[in-house]
């Protein structure tokens, strides 16, 4: 096993994917706790489809992928948040509308220009080769910024997530927190998409939070444990993907499913033990 690890680490692209993935997993899972609890899980999913559409457009016109898709997804995040604030049911439908719409436009542009080639396939399902040197450094910097922002605003994010009305009514500076969460989510999705795949990236946000909520019952513990779960799942996932030569995105998601099942069972046993 150590031989395989050493072999993996001898490939620079794998080392980049590993470092990038670990940072992405941490930031995605931190945001995920808030998104899942605010019932915003679907926003993450919707945004990744928008991200796919944006990447397809960027590829078709030979623009820089990150420079095009980050602003588009950020705008989509603000729009979805607005819609969700107005009425819940309409917001739900709006997400489905925007995500399928963006996917359709993306596919259309792709087939009119380059055709469905390996690039597009990689955007949808992720590729360990996607992290070149530029996007590696961008991802590292952005992930660190996200993690720092999360820690700075941790208490305010908790307050808004737990009870938005109370926070709005009693606190002077609460308005920006929702926007901050949306912005960070949008950025994480675009960055993670190329490694994990547009169709799979939201799993990185949702699974760790859901798994740790099976067992832990305080916000702090849920946050810390979901970051740990997320990193372990990613590392195990990328290792398995290398040894079994499976796609990295799908393998990481399956590892997350297994972690969820384990935590689900632990949670059930705990409840039964208590009188």
């Amino acid at each position: 096993m150590f031989r395989i690890i050493a072999e993996m680490l001898s490939y620079p692209f794998l080392v980049r994917a590993l470092i990038c993935g670990i940072l992405l997993s941490v930031s995605a899972s931190l945001l995920g706790v808030s998104l899942v609890l605010k019932r915003y899980s679907m926003i993450g999913d919707g945004l990744s489809h928008v991200g796919f559409g944006a990447l397809a457009i960027a590829t078709a016109f030979h623009w820089a992928p990150l420079a095009v898709s980050i602003p588009i997804v950020v705008i989509a995040a603000f729009l979805l948040l607005r819609l969700n604030e107005n009425t819940r049911i309409k917001g739900d439908a709006a997400i489905a509308l925007i995500s399928t719409g963006a996917l359709a436009i993306g596919i259309l542009i792709v087939s009119l220009t380059t055709g469905v080639n390996i690039d597009i396939y990689n955007y949808m399902f992720g590729s360990v080769l996607a992290i070149d040197k530029t996007s590696f450094w961008i991802s590292i910097v952005v992930c660190i910024v996200i993690i720092v922002l999360f820690f700075l605003f941790y208490n305010r994010i908790f307050a808004v997530t737990f009870d938005e009305d109370f926070t709005k009514a009693t606190q002077a500076k609460s308005g920006g927190i929702n926007l901050l969460i949306a912005l960070l989510t949008a950025v994480i999705i675009v960055l993670g998409m190329r490694l994990m795949g547009a169709l799979l990236i939201s799993a990185l946000i949702i699974f760790p939070a859901l798994s740790s909520m099976r067992v832990f019952k305080s916000y702090k513990r849920v946050t810390i444990s979901s970051a740990i779960i997320s990193v372990i799942c990613f590392v195990v996932g990328i290792f398995c993907s290398y040894t079994l030569s499976t796609p990295v995105g799908a393998t990481v998601v399956v590892t997350n499913i297994i972690a969820f099942l384990i935590f689900f069972i632990i949670g059930k046993i705990r409840i039964r033990k208590e009188p």
Binding site: L37, L152, R156, A159, F162, T167, A172, K217, V222
Partner: protein
């Protein structure tokens, strides 16, 4: 001195008028109960006072010079510190959070991003005064309804020293716990905190409050509790409660009984 002045306030929701032409004022140290049937606009009125909802007409003036009006932004900010106990149904039932985390979140209006010793002290003294210090490490979702309300009241206390807005604080609690809750609120009022409470429980409203606002889309009554007790409105409302029955020929319940 009045700390809140509400002038000809009208609020609508998706084009439907919920509250129209409501005027009243709250003085420091008051205990105001907002009563009325379901759907009479009590919660909407409170949300407007808190700046969570924009009024269509009229304005709310605060003694510190802030106002909520049609012209100004709905997200007005108090200079005054307020505490708020929302209706419990708005909260998520499976939220993982410890009691301490929730109570501490009430102190956040004291600017700053992290909790200092001062905030922790405040949270602990709030929990102590409401008798929940021993459960501070437990998870909110595992607590009983009464304990949860105390936690939320402690959080509201952390946010204010002046005024508390309570939206049906005893909904769904059993009689003993309800009584405790009322006594606790009474104690808070006695130490100088202004109370604005929405209540379904007219008997308790008459017993504890010193002012009553009776809503029925428009304002049916505003004044002291003593005055309210003399009105027909109050008698009509109380008529649903057999103990308070005013037995005369018009009484619906008496008529029903005589038929049986």
């Amino acid at each position: 001195m009045s700390i809140i002045d509400c002038k000809h306030l009208s609020v609508s929701y998706e084009g439907r008028t919920i509250v129209s032409d409501v005027s009243f004022s709250i003085s420091a140290g008051d205990y105001l109960c907002i009563v009325g049937e379901n759907g009479s606009g009590k919660t909407t009125l409170m949300r407007t006072l808190l700046g969570l909802k924009k009024p269509d007409k009229g304005e709310v003036l605060f003694s510190d010079g802030c106002s909520v009006g049609k012209a100004s932004d709905a997200s007005h900010k108090w200079v005054h510190k307020i505490g708020y106990l929302p209706q419990k149904s708005n909260l998520q039932k499976d939220f993982p959070a410890s009691v301490m985390e929730i109570v501490l979140s009430g102190t956040l209006n004291d600017n700053g991003l992290f909790y200092t010793k001062k905030e922790k002290k405040k949270a602990i003294s709030a929990m102590e005064s409401l008798g929940i210090l021993d459960i501070r490490k437990r998870s909110f979702m595992e607590l009983s309804g009464g304990q949860q309300q105390r936690v939320l009241l402690a959080r509201a206390l952390c946010a204010t020293e002046d005024i508390l807005f309570l939206d049906e604080p005893v909904a769904g609690l059993d009689p003993k716990v309800t009584q405790d809750m009322y006594e606790m609120i009474k104690t808070l009022n006695e130490i100088g905190i202004t109370i604005v409470m929405i209540s379904h429980d007219i008997e308790a409203a008459l017993e504890y409050s010193n002012h009553i606002l009776h809503l029925n889309k428009d304002m049916d009554f505003f004044g002291t509790t003593e005055e309210y007790k003399k009105t027909e409105l109050c008698e009509h409302y109380l008529c649903h409660i057999p103990d308070h029955l005013h037995h005369d020929d018009d009484c619906e319940i008496c008529k029903e009984r005589s038929h049986v």
